[in-house]
Amino acid sequence: MKLLDVENLAISFLNPERVLLQGVSFDLERGGRLGLIGESGSGKSITALSLLGLLPESMRASGRITIAGVNVIGSSERELTAIRGARAAMIFQEPLSALDPLMRVGRQIAGPLRLHQGLSGAAARREVFSLLDRVRLSDHERIYNSFPHELSGGQRQRVALAMALGCESELLIADEPTTALDVTVQAEVLSLLDELVTSEGMALLFITHDLPVISRITRRLLVMQDGRIVESGTTAKILSSPAHPYTAGLLESARRVTAVPYVRGAGTQ
Protein backbone atom coordinates (compact mmCIF):
# COMPACT_ATOMS: atom_id res chain seq x y z
CA MET A 1 0.00 0.00 0.00
CA LYS A 2 1.29 3.42 -0.95
CA LEU A 3 1.63 6.02 1.80
CA LEU A 4 -0.05 8.66 -0.30
CA ASP A 5 -2.31 7.79 -3.18
CA VAL A 6 -4.10 10.43 -5.20
CA GLU A 7 -6.43 9.34 -7.94
CA ASN A 8 -8.24 11.55 -10.38
CA LEU A 9 -8.37 14.45 -7.96
CA ALA A 10 -10.50 17.38 -9.07
CA ILE A 11 -11.14 20.59 -7.16
CA SER A 12 -13.59 23.29 -8.06
CA PHE A 13 -14.97 26.53 -6.74
CA LEU A 14 -18.61 26.18 -5.81
CA ASN A 15 -20.05 29.61 -6.34
CA PRO A 16 -19.78 30.39 -9.22
CA GLU A 17 -18.66 26.94 -10.26
CA ARG A 18 -15.18 26.93 -11.73
CA VAL A 19 -12.81 24.02 -12.12
CA LEU A 20 -9.40 24.62 -10.51
CA LEU A 21 -7.88 21.17 -10.71
CA GLN A 22 -8.70 18.17 -12.82
CA GLY A 23 -7.53 14.60 -13.32
CA VAL A 24 -4.60 14.84 -10.92
CA SER A 25 -3.16 11.43 -10.01
CA PHE A 26 0.09 10.59 -8.29
CA ASP A 27 1.39 8.47 -5.48
CA LEU A 28 4.21 8.41 -3.00
CA GLU A 29 5.66 5.41 -1.20
CA ARG A 30 6.97 5.41 2.38
CA GLY A 31 10.23 7.31 2.59
CA GLY A 32 9.90 8.48 -1.01
CA ARG A 33 10.20 11.97 -2.36
CA LEU A 34 8.19 13.77 -4.95
CA GLY A 35 8.47 17.28 -6.32
CA LEU A 36 5.49 19.26 -7.57
CA ILE A 37 6.39 22.24 -9.69
CA GLY A 38 4.36 24.87 -11.50
CA GLU A 39 3.82 28.59 -11.72
CA SER A 40 1.64 30.64 -9.36
CA GLY A 41 -2.00 29.73 -9.81
CA SER A 42 -1.30 26.35 -11.36
CA GLY A 43 -2.99 24.56 -8.44
CA LYS A 44 0.02 23.35 -6.44
CA SER A 45 -0.95 24.79 -3.10
CA ILE A 46 -4.61 23.82 -3.50
CA THR A 47 -3.43 20.27 -4.13
CA ALA A 48 -1.37 20.38 -0.92
CA LEU A 49 -4.24 21.73 1.16
CA SER A 50 -6.67 19.13 -0.20
CA LEU A 51 -4.38 16.30 0.93
CA LEU A 52 -5.16 17.10 4.57
CA GLY A 53 -8.72 18.22 3.97
CA LEU A 54 -7.81 21.87 4.52
CA LEU A 55 -9.60 23.36 1.53
CA PRO A 56 -11.64 26.48 2.25
CA GLU A 57 -15.42 26.11 2.49
CA SER A 58 -15.84 27.65 -0.95
CA MET A 59 -14.13 24.69 -2.67
CA ARG A 60 -15.04 21.06 -3.19
CA ALA A 61 -12.72 18.17 -3.93
CA SER A 62 -13.69 14.99 -5.71
CA GLY A 63 -11.74 11.88 -6.70
CA ARG A 64 -9.78 9.85 -4.20
CA ILE A 65 -7.03 10.70 -1.76
CA THR A 66 -5.77 8.12 0.69
CA ILE A 67 -3.05 8.63 3.28
CA ALA A 68 -1.81 5.35 4.80
CA GLY A 69 -5.01 3.72 3.63
CA VAL A 70 -7.32 6.31 5.17
CA ASN A 71 -9.67 8.15 2.88
CA VAL A 72 -9.45 11.95 3.01
CA ILE A 73 -12.24 13.12 0.71
CA GLY A 74 -15.63 12.60 2.31
CA SER A 75 -14.20 11.86 5.75
CA SER A 76 -15.61 13.50 8.83
CA GLU A 77 -13.69 16.17 10.69
CA ARG A 78 -12.90 13.62 13.43
CA GLU A 79 -11.46 11.09 10.99
CA LEU A 80 -9.40 13.85 9.41
CA THR A 81 -8.04 14.97 12.79
CA ALA A 82 -6.74 11.42 13.21
CA ILE A 83 -4.64 11.73 10.05
CA ARG A 84 -3.50 15.31 10.45
CA GLY A 85 -0.20 15.52 12.21
CA ALA A 86 -0.21 11.80 13.05
CA ARG A 87 0.21 10.61 9.45
CA ALA A 88 1.11 13.78 7.62
CA ALA A 89 2.43 17.17 8.66
CA MET A 90 2.74 20.31 6.65
CA ILE A 91 4.97 23.36 6.48
CA PHE A 92 3.96 26.55 4.78
CA GLN A 93 5.47 29.17 2.55
CA GLU A 94 5.48 32.15 4.89
CA PRO A 95 6.78 31.11 8.32
CA LEU A 96 5.81 34.43 9.93
CA SER A 97 2.13 33.97 9.17
CA ALA A 98 2.31 30.25 9.92
CA LEU A 99 3.21 31.01 13.55
CA ASP A 100 0.81 32.60 16.01
CA PRO A 101 2.10 36.15 16.60
CA LEU A 102 0.96 36.18 20.24
CA MET A 103 2.28 32.81 21.39
CA ARG A 104 5.81 32.06 22.45
CA VAL A 105 7.58 29.79 20.02
CA GLY A 106 8.26 27.08 22.61
CA ARG A 107 4.57 26.65 23.38
CA GLN A 108 3.78 26.46 19.68
CA ILE A 109 6.29 23.67 19.13
CA ALA A 110 4.96 21.88 22.21
CA GLY A 111 1.40 21.87 20.81
CA PRO A 112 1.78 18.84 18.51
CA LEU A 113 3.90 17.07 21.16
CA ARG A 114 0.97 17.13 23.56
CA LEU A 115 -1.41 15.93 20.86
CA HIS A 116 0.67 13.18 19.32
CA GLN A 117 3.11 12.06 21.98
CA GLY A 118 1.10 12.93 25.10
CA LEU A 119 3.93 15.04 26.47
CA SER A 120 3.42 18.00 28.76
CA GLY A 121 5.29 20.09 31.30
CA ALA A 122 8.99 19.43 31.70
CA ALA A 123 8.97 16.41 29.36
CA ALA A 124 7.47 18.50 26.57
CA ARG A 125 10.02 21.21 27.22
CA ARG A 126 12.90 18.73 26.97
CA GLU A 127 11.46 17.39 23.73
CA VAL A 128 11.11 20.94 22.34
CA PHE A 129 14.80 21.53 23.13
CA SER A 130 15.74 18.33 21.37
CA LEU A 131 13.64 19.35 18.36
CA LEU A 132 15.34 22.75 18.34
CA ASP A 133 18.64 20.88 18.29
CA ARG A 134 17.56 18.82 15.34
CA VAL A 135 16.67 21.94 13.35
CA ARG A 136 20.03 23.48 14.37
CA LEU A 137 18.70 26.19 16.64
CA SER A 138 21.21 26.11 19.50
CA ASP A 139 20.10 29.05 21.64
CA HIS A 140 17.34 26.95 23.24
CA GLU A 141 16.20 29.18 26.11
CA ARG A 142 16.02 32.33 24.02
CA ILE A 143 14.24 30.72 21.07
CA TYR A 144 11.83 28.90 23.39
CA ASN A 145 10.75 32.17 24.99
CA SER A 146 10.71 34.26 21.81
CA PHE A 147 7.72 35.52 19.92
CA PRO A 148 7.80 34.82 16.17
CA HIS A 149 8.52 38.46 15.26
CA GLU A 150 11.71 38.33 17.34
CA LEU A 151 13.21 35.64 15.10
CA SER A 152 14.73 35.87 11.65
CA GLY A 153 13.04 34.35 8.61
CA GLY A 154 15.34 31.35 8.60
CA GLN A 155 14.84 30.75 12.32
CA ARG A 156 11.07 30.94 11.90
CA GLN A 157 11.08 28.35 9.14
CA ARG A 158 13.25 26.10 11.34
CA VAL A 159 10.71 26.52 14.12
CA ALA A 160 7.91 25.57 11.70
CA LEU A 161 9.98 22.56 10.69
CA ALA A 162 10.47 21.61 14.35
CA MET A 163 6.68 21.76 14.83
CA ALA A 164 6.20 19.44 11.87
CA LEU A 165 8.89 17.04 13.14
CA GLY A 166 7.23 16.95 16.56
CA CYS A 167 4.23 15.25 14.98
CA GLU A 168 6.44 12.24 14.15
CA SER A 169 4.41 11.70 11.00
CA GLU A 170 5.32 9.61 7.98
CA LEU A 171 4.68 12.27 5.37
CA LEU A 172 5.86 15.86 5.21
CA ILE A 173 4.10 18.19 2.82
CA ALA A 174 6.27 21.26 2.23
CA ASP A 175 4.47 24.03 0.39
CA GLU A 176 7.17 26.35 -0.99
CA PRO A 177 9.08 26.27 2.31
CA THR A 178 12.01 28.28 1.01
CA THR A 179 10.30 30.80 -1.27
CA ALA A 180 10.00 33.55 1.35
CA LEU A 181 13.63 33.26 2.47
CA ASP A 182 16.86 34.94 1.39
CA VAL A 183 18.90 32.92 -1.08
CA THR A 184 21.65 32.05 1.42
CA VAL A 185 19.15 31.07 4.12
CA GLN A 186 17.22 29.16 1.47
CA ALA A 187 20.20 26.92 0.85
CA GLU A 188 20.67 26.23 4.58
CA VAL A 189 17.01 25.42 5.21
CA LEU A 190 16.92 23.25 2.11
CA SER A 191 19.88 21.12 3.12
CA LEU A 192 18.50 20.87 6.66
CA LEU A 193 15.16 19.69 5.29
CA ASP A 194 16.95 17.22 3.03
CA GLU A 195 18.94 15.81 5.92
CA LEU A 196 16.03 15.59 8.36
CA VAL A 197 13.68 13.90 5.93
CA THR A 198 16.35 11.26 5.35
CA SER A 199 17.24 10.76 9.02
CA GLU A 200 13.61 10.64 10.17
CA GLY A 201 12.64 8.38 7.29
CA MET A 202 9.80 10.65 6.24
CA ALA A 203 8.24 10.80 2.81
CA LEU A 204 8.37 14.26 1.29
CA LEU A 205 6.06 16.08 -1.06
CA PHE A 206 7.91 19.23 -2.01
CA ILE A 207 6.04 22.00 -3.75
CA THR A 208 7.79 24.88 -5.43
CA HIS A 209 7.98 27.07 -8.51
CA ASP A 210 11.73 27.09 -8.31
CA LEU A 211 13.51 24.60 -10.59
CA PRO A 212 17.03 24.89 -9.15
CA VAL A 213 15.59 24.25 -5.67
CA ILE A 214 13.64 21.17 -6.65
CA SER A 215 16.47 19.63 -8.62
CA ARG A 216 18.46 19.51 -5.40
CA ILE A 217 15.88 17.77 -3.31
CA THR A 218 13.79 15.26 -5.25
CA ARG A 219 14.43 12.68 -7.88
CA ARG A 220 10.85 12.45 -9.06
CA LEU A 221 8.95 15.42 -10.42
CA LEU A 222 5.45 16.40 -11.46
CA VAL A 223 4.91 19.48 -13.58
CA MET A 224 1.60 21.21 -13.12
CA GLN A 225 -0.07 23.77 -15.34
CA ASP A 226 -3.61 25.18 -15.12
CA GLY A 227 -4.74 22.50 -12.69
CA ARG A 228 -3.44 19.54 -14.65
CA ILE A 229 -0.29 17.48 -14.48
CA VAL A 230 1.38 18.00 -17.82
CA GLU A 231 4.52 15.99 -17.28
CA SER A 232 5.97 13.58 -14.79
CA GLY A 233 9.17 11.56 -14.53
CA THR A 234 12.58 11.66 -12.95
CA THR A 235 13.96 15.10 -12.21
CA ALA A 236 17.10 14.47 -14.22
CA LYS A 237 15.19 13.41 -17.30
CA ILE A 238 12.73 16.27 -17.13
CA LEU A 239 15.50 18.79 -16.66
CA SER A 240 17.61 17.43 -19.50
CA SER A 241 14.87 16.70 -22.03
CA PRO A 242 11.50 18.19 -21.20
CA ALA A 243 8.71 16.58 -23.21
CA HIS A 244 6.04 19.18 -22.70
CA PRO A 245 6.45 22.69 -24.18
CA TYR A 246 5.36 24.23 -20.86
CA THR A 247 8.15 22.43 -19.00
CA ALA A 248 10.61 23.53 -21.63
CA GLY A 249 9.45 27.12 -21.19
CA LEU A 250 9.78 26.84 -17.42
CA LEU A 251 13.31 25.50 -17.81
CA GLU A 252 14.23 28.14 -20.32
CA SER A 253 13.06 30.97 -18.04
CA ALA A 254 15.02 29.52 -15.12
CA ARG A 255 18.15 29.36 -17.29
CA ARG A 256 17.70 32.91 -18.44
CA VAL A 257 17.45 34.18 -14.89
CA THR A 258 20.52 32.29 -13.68
CA ALA A 259 22.43 33.47 -16.78
CA VAL A 260 22.25 37.12 -15.68
CA PRO A 261 25.72 37.94 -14.37
CA TYR A 262 25.88 38.90 -10.72
CA VAL A 263 27.16 42.43 -10.31
CA ARG A 264 28.59 43.17 -6.89
CA GLY A 265 26.70 45.99 -5.18
CA ALA A 266 24.29 46.48 -8.08
CA GLY A 267 21.26 46.10 -5.86
CA THR A 268 22.30 48.58 -3.21
CA GLN A 269 22.00 51.83 -5.12
Binding site: A88, L115, M163
Partner: protein, 287 residues
Amino acid sequence: MSDAAPAARREDAHGVVRRRPGASFVIGTLLVSLVLVTALVSFVWTPYAPADTAEALRLGSPSPRHWAGTDKLGRDLFSQLMIGARLALLVATGSTAIAAALGGTLGLSAASSRRGFVDESFSYLFDVLIAFPTILLAMLIVTIRGASTFSAILAIGISGSAVVSRLSRISAIRVLAADYVKAAIAGGASRLSIIFRHVLPNIYPILVVQLTLVAAGAILAEASLAYLGLGAPPPQSSWGRMLLEAQESVVSSPWGAIFPGLAIVTTVSGLNFLGDGIRELLGPEMK
Protein backbone atom coordinates in the same frame (compact mmCIF):
# COMPACT_ATOMS: atom_id res chain seq x y z
CA MET B 1 11.79 56.04 14.40
CA SER B 2 9.57 58.59 12.70
CA ASP B 3 9.40 62.13 14.07
CA ALA B 4 5.71 61.75 14.92
CA ALA B 5 6.47 58.95 17.34
CA PRO B 6 6.56 59.70 21.05
CA ALA B 7 9.38 58.18 23.07
CA ALA B 8 7.33 55.41 24.63
CA ARG B 9 6.22 54.05 21.30
CA ARG B 10 7.10 50.44 20.57
CA GLU B 11 5.73 47.61 18.55
CA ASP B 12 4.24 44.50 20.10
CA ALA B 13 3.95 40.98 18.73
CA HIS B 14 1.27 42.05 16.27
CA GLY B 15 3.32 44.89 14.91
CA VAL B 16 0.63 46.94 16.63
CA VAL B 17 2.04 50.14 17.99
CA ARG B 18 1.65 50.46 21.74
CA ARG B 19 1.81 53.89 23.32
CA ARG B 20 2.08 55.41 26.74
CA PRO B 21 -1.41 55.61 28.31
CA GLY B 22 -3.15 58.71 26.94
CA ALA B 23 -5.38 61.28 28.65
CA SER B 24 -8.58 59.26 28.13
CA PHE B 25 -7.02 56.22 29.77
CA VAL B 26 -5.91 58.25 32.80
CA ILE B 27 -9.24 60.10 33.16
CA GLY B 28 -11.19 56.87 32.66
CA THR B 29 -9.13 54.99 35.22
CA LEU B 30 -9.48 57.81 37.76
CA LEU B 31 -13.26 58.10 37.38
CA VAL B 32 -13.86 54.35 37.47
CA SER B 33 -11.57 53.94 40.49
CA LEU B 34 -13.42 56.78 42.24
CA VAL B 35 -16.71 54.90 41.86
CA LEU B 36 -15.08 51.60 42.81
CA VAL B 37 -13.51 53.05 45.97
CA THR B 38 -16.82 54.71 46.91
CA ALA B 39 -18.61 51.39 46.57
CA LEU B 40 -15.98 49.59 48.65
CA VAL B 41 -15.95 52.25 51.38
CA SER B 42 -19.76 52.06 51.61
CA PHE B 43 -19.39 48.54 53.02
CA VAL B 44 -17.52 49.83 56.06
CA TRP B 45 -18.60 53.43 56.36
CA THR B 46 -21.36 55.76 55.25
CA PRO B 47 -22.07 59.16 56.88
CA TYR B 48 -25.50 57.90 58.02
CA ALA B 49 -27.37 54.64 57.78
CA PRO B 50 -29.11 54.90 54.39
CA ALA B 51 -32.59 54.34 55.86
CA ASP B 52 -31.98 56.69 58.78
CA THR B 53 -34.61 59.43 58.67
CA ALA B 54 -33.84 62.80 60.22
CA GLU B 55 -37.33 64.30 60.63
CA ALA B 56 -36.17 67.88 60.78
CA LEU B 57 -34.35 67.72 57.50
CA ARG B 58 -36.76 66.69 54.73
CA LEU B 59 -35.62 67.77 51.26
CA GLY B 60 -32.57 69.48 52.72
CA SER B 61 -29.97 71.19 50.57
CA PRO B 62 -26.31 70.17 50.69
CA SER B 63 -24.74 71.23 54.00
CA PRO B 64 -21.73 70.26 56.12
CA ARG B 65 -23.95 67.70 57.90
CA HIS B 66 -25.56 66.26 54.77
CA TRP B 67 -23.08 66.65 51.88
CA ALA B 68 -25.62 65.93 49.17
CA GLY B 69 -28.74 67.01 51.07
CA THR B 70 -31.61 64.80 52.19
CA ASP B 71 -34.63 63.29 50.44
CA LYS B 72 -38.37 63.71 51.14
CA LEU B 73 -38.13 61.29 54.06
CA GLY B 74 -35.08 63.03 55.47
CA ARG B 75 -32.64 60.27 54.54
CA ASP B 76 -29.06 61.26 53.77
CA LEU B 77 -28.56 61.38 49.96
CA PHE B 78 -24.79 61.01 50.07
CA SER B 79 -25.05 57.72 51.94
CA GLN B 80 -27.61 56.49 49.42
CA LEU B 81 -25.32 57.54 46.55
CA MET B 82 -22.44 55.58 48.06
CA ILE B 83 -24.54 52.46 48.42
CA GLY B 84 -26.01 52.98 44.95
CA ALA B 85 -22.48 52.70 43.55
CA ARG B 86 -22.41 49.05 44.68
CA LEU B 87 -25.48 48.23 42.64
CA ALA B 88 -24.21 50.13 39.61
CA LEU B 89 -20.93 48.20 39.66
CA LEU B 90 -22.64 44.89 40.40
CA VAL B 91 -24.94 45.35 37.42
CA ALA B 92 -22.06 46.51 35.22
CA THR B 93 -19.84 43.54 36.01
CA GLY B 94 -22.64 40.99 36.12
CA SER B 95 -24.24 41.92 32.84
CA THR B 96 -20.87 42.39 31.15
CA ALA B 97 -19.88 38.90 32.26
CA ILE B 98 -23.13 37.49 30.86
CA ALA B 99 -22.66 39.47 27.63
CA ALA B 100 -19.08 38.22 27.31
CA ALA B 101 -19.87 34.59 28.05
CA LEU B 102 -23.04 34.37 25.98
CA GLY B 103 -21.92 36.66 23.16
CA GLY B 104 -18.46 35.14 23.00
CA THR B 105 -19.78 31.59 22.88
CA LEU B 106 -22.37 32.35 20.20
CA GLY B 107 -20.01 34.47 18.12
CA LEU B 108 -17.15 31.96 18.25
CA SER B 109 -19.47 29.03 17.49
CA ALA B 110 -20.87 30.88 14.50
CA ALA B 111 -17.39 31.76 13.24
CA SER B 112 -15.93 28.30 13.64
CA SER B 113 -18.91 26.38 12.37
CA ARG B 114 -18.10 24.82 9.04
CA ARG B 115 -21.76 24.62 8.11
CA GLY B 116 -23.03 27.77 6.46
CA PHE B 117 -26.55 27.57 7.84
CA VAL B 118 -25.36 27.53 11.47
CA ASP B 119 -23.39 30.70 10.91
CA GLU B 120 -26.30 32.29 9.04
CA SER B 121 -28.96 31.45 11.59
CA PHE B 122 -26.73 32.71 14.41
CA SER B 123 -26.14 35.92 12.51
CA TYR B 124 -29.90 36.42 12.08
CA LEU B 125 -30.31 35.85 15.80
CA PHE B 126 -27.71 38.57 16.54
CA ASP B 127 -29.45 40.96 14.16
CA VAL B 128 -32.81 40.42 15.84
CA LEU B 129 -31.24 40.87 19.28
CA ILE B 130 -29.49 44.07 18.24
CA ALA B 131 -32.74 45.45 16.82
CA PHE B 132 -34.57 44.64 20.06
CA PRO B 133 -34.42 47.59 22.52
CA THR B 134 -32.74 46.73 25.81
CA ILE B 135 -35.55 48.23 27.87
CA LEU B 136 -38.21 46.26 26.03
CA LEU B 137 -36.30 43.02 26.51
CA ALA B 138 -35.78 43.91 30.16
CA MET B 139 -39.50 44.55 30.67
CA LEU B 140 -40.19 41.16 29.14
CA ILE B 141 -37.76 39.41 31.46
CA VAL B 142 -38.93 41.36 34.50
CA THR B 143 -42.53 40.40 33.66
CA ILE B 144 -41.53 36.74 33.54
CA ARG B 145 -39.15 36.67 36.49
CA GLY B 146 -40.31 39.58 38.62
CA ALA B 147 -38.32 42.73 39.36
CA SER B 148 -35.00 41.95 40.97
CA THR B 149 -31.37 42.86 40.61
CA PHE B 150 -30.71 39.56 38.91
CA SER B 151 -33.53 40.07 36.40
CA ALA B 152 -32.02 43.41 35.46
CA ILE B 153 -28.53 41.91 35.12
CA LEU B 154 -29.86 39.05 33.02
CA ALA B 155 -31.83 41.31 30.70
CA ILE B 156 -29.01 43.80 30.21
CA GLY B 157 -26.48 40.98 29.75
CA ILE B 158 -28.56 39.25 27.10
CA SER B 159 -29.09 42.38 25.08
CA GLY B 160 -25.41 43.33 25.42
CA SER B 161 -24.40 39.90 24.14
CA ALA B 162 -25.68 40.71 20.65
CA VAL B 163 -22.96 43.25 19.91
CA VAL B 164 -20.31 41.11 21.59
CA SER B 165 -21.26 38.05 19.56
CA ARG B 166 -21.18 39.96 16.31
CA LEU B 167 -17.81 41.46 17.08
CA SER B 168 -16.27 38.20 18.26
CA ARG B 169 -17.67 36.39 15.21
CA ILE B 170 -16.09 38.89 12.80
CA SER B 171 -12.75 39.01 14.62
CA ALA B 172 -12.64 35.23 14.96
CA ILE B 173 -13.30 34.73 11.25
CA ARG B 174 -10.26 36.91 10.55
CA VAL B 175 -8.06 34.84 12.89
CA LEU B 176 -9.43 31.51 11.63
CA ALA B 177 -8.36 32.43 8.11
CA ALA B 178 -4.75 32.91 9.22
CA ASP B 179 -2.02 30.51 8.17
CA TYR B 180 -1.13 29.62 11.75
CA VAL B 181 -4.62 28.27 12.27
CA LYS B 182 -4.26 26.23 9.09
CA ALA B 183 -0.91 25.03 10.39
CA ALA B 184 -2.47 24.06 13.73
CA ILE B 185 -5.29 22.14 11.99
CA ALA B 186 -2.74 20.45 9.76
CA GLY B 187 -0.93 19.42 12.94
CA GLY B 188 -4.07 17.70 14.22
CA ALA B 189 -5.39 20.35 16.63
CA SER B 190 -9.11 20.18 17.38
CA ARG B 191 -11.48 23.05 16.75
CA LEU B 192 -11.94 23.75 20.44
CA SER B 193 -8.24 23.87 21.17
CA ILE B 194 -7.77 26.30 18.28
CA ILE B 195 -10.42 28.58 19.78
CA PHE B 196 -8.66 28.61 23.14
CA ARG B 197 -5.04 28.57 21.97
CA HIS B 198 -5.20 30.89 18.99
CA VAL B 199 -8.51 32.68 18.53
CA LEU B 200 -9.21 34.03 22.03
CA PRO B 201 -5.71 35.39 22.70
CA ASN B 202 -5.77 37.14 19.34
CA ILE B 203 -9.19 38.76 19.63
CA TYR B 204 -9.32 39.65 23.32
CA PRO B 205 -7.93 43.21 22.97
CA ILE B 206 -10.80 44.08 20.64
CA LEU B 207 -13.30 42.43 22.96
CA VAL B 208 -12.02 44.21 26.07
CA VAL B 209 -12.65 47.59 24.46
CA GLN B 210 -16.15 46.52 23.50
CA LEU B 211 -16.86 45.15 26.97
CA THR B 212 -16.05 48.46 28.68
CA LEU B 213 -18.68 50.03 26.44
CA VAL B 214 -21.13 47.24 27.30
CA ALA B 215 -20.48 47.97 30.99
CA ALA B 216 -21.18 51.67 30.49
CA GLY B 217 -24.39 50.84 28.65
CA ALA B 218 -25.36 48.44 31.45
CA ILE B 219 -25.18 51.18 34.09
CA LEU B 220 -27.36 53.46 31.98
CA ALA B 221 -29.80 50.64 31.33
CA GLU B 222 -30.01 49.73 35.01
CA ALA B 223 -30.69 53.38 35.92
CA SER B 224 -33.43 53.52 33.26
CA LEU B 225 -35.01 50.30 34.54
CA ALA B 226 -34.91 51.51 38.14
CA TYR B 227 -36.39 54.84 37.06
CA LEU B 228 -39.26 52.92 35.44
CA GLY B 229 -39.66 50.91 38.62
CA LEU B 230 -38.39 47.74 36.95
CA GLY B 231 -35.05 47.56 38.69
CA ALA B 232 -33.98 46.26 42.06
CA PRO B 233 -36.81 46.74 44.57
CA PRO B 234 -36.27 48.80 47.77
CA PRO B 235 -34.48 48.75 50.18
CA GLN B 236 -31.69 48.27 47.61
CA SER B 237 -30.36 51.77 46.84
CA SER B 238 -30.23 52.55 43.16
CA TRP B 239 -29.26 55.77 41.41
CA GLY B 240 -32.11 55.28 38.95
CA ARG B 241 -34.70 54.94 41.72
CA MET B 242 -33.24 57.97 43.51
CA LEU B 243 -34.00 59.91 40.32
CA LEU B 244 -37.53 58.52 40.31
CA GLU B 245 -38.11 59.45 43.96
CA ALA B 246 -36.70 62.96 43.46
CA GLN B 247 -38.96 63.61 40.48
CA GLU B 248 -41.99 65.04 42.27
CA SER B 249 -39.92 67.61 44.15
CA VAL B 250 -37.42 68.36 41.39
CA VAL B 251 -38.49 72.03 41.06
CA SER B 252 -38.44 72.92 44.76
CA SER B 253 -35.44 70.78 45.66
CA PRO B 254 -33.39 69.75 42.60
CA TRP B 255 -30.47 68.22 44.58
CA GLY B 256 -32.11 64.83 44.86
CA ALA B 257 -32.05 64.57 41.06
CA ILE B 258 -28.76 66.35 40.36
CA PHE B 259 -26.51 64.15 42.48
CA PRO B 260 -27.66 60.71 41.27
CA GLY B 261 -27.53 62.13 37.73
CA LEU B 262 -23.95 63.25 38.30
CA ALA B 263 -23.05 59.84 39.70
CA ILE B 264 -24.43 58.11 36.59
CA VAL B 265 -22.68 60.55 34.25
CA THR B 266 -19.38 60.13 36.11
CA THR B 267 -19.45 56.34 35.98
CA VAL B 268 -20.65 56.01 32.39
CA SER B 269 -18.24 58.61 31.03
CA GLY B 270 -15.46 57.06 33.11
CA LEU B 271 -16.05 53.70 31.46
CA ASN B 272 -16.28 55.31 28.02
CA PHE B 273 -13.00 57.15 28.58
CA LEU B 274 -11.44 53.90 29.74
CA GLY B 275 -12.63 52.09 26.58
CA ASP B 276 -11.25 54.89 24.40
CA GLY B 277 -8.01 54.85 26.35
CA ILE B 278 -7.55 51.10 25.89
CA ARG B 279 -8.27 51.48 22.19
CA GLU B 280 -5.64 54.20 21.94
CA LEU B 281 -3.15 52.01 23.78
CA LEU B 282 -3.70 49.25 21.26
CA GLY B 283 -2.95 51.56 18.36
CA PRO B 284 -4.78 52.63 15.23
CA GLU B 285 -4.70 49.16 13.64
CA MET B 286 -7.06 47.86 16.29
CA LYS B 287 -9.76 50.49 15.79
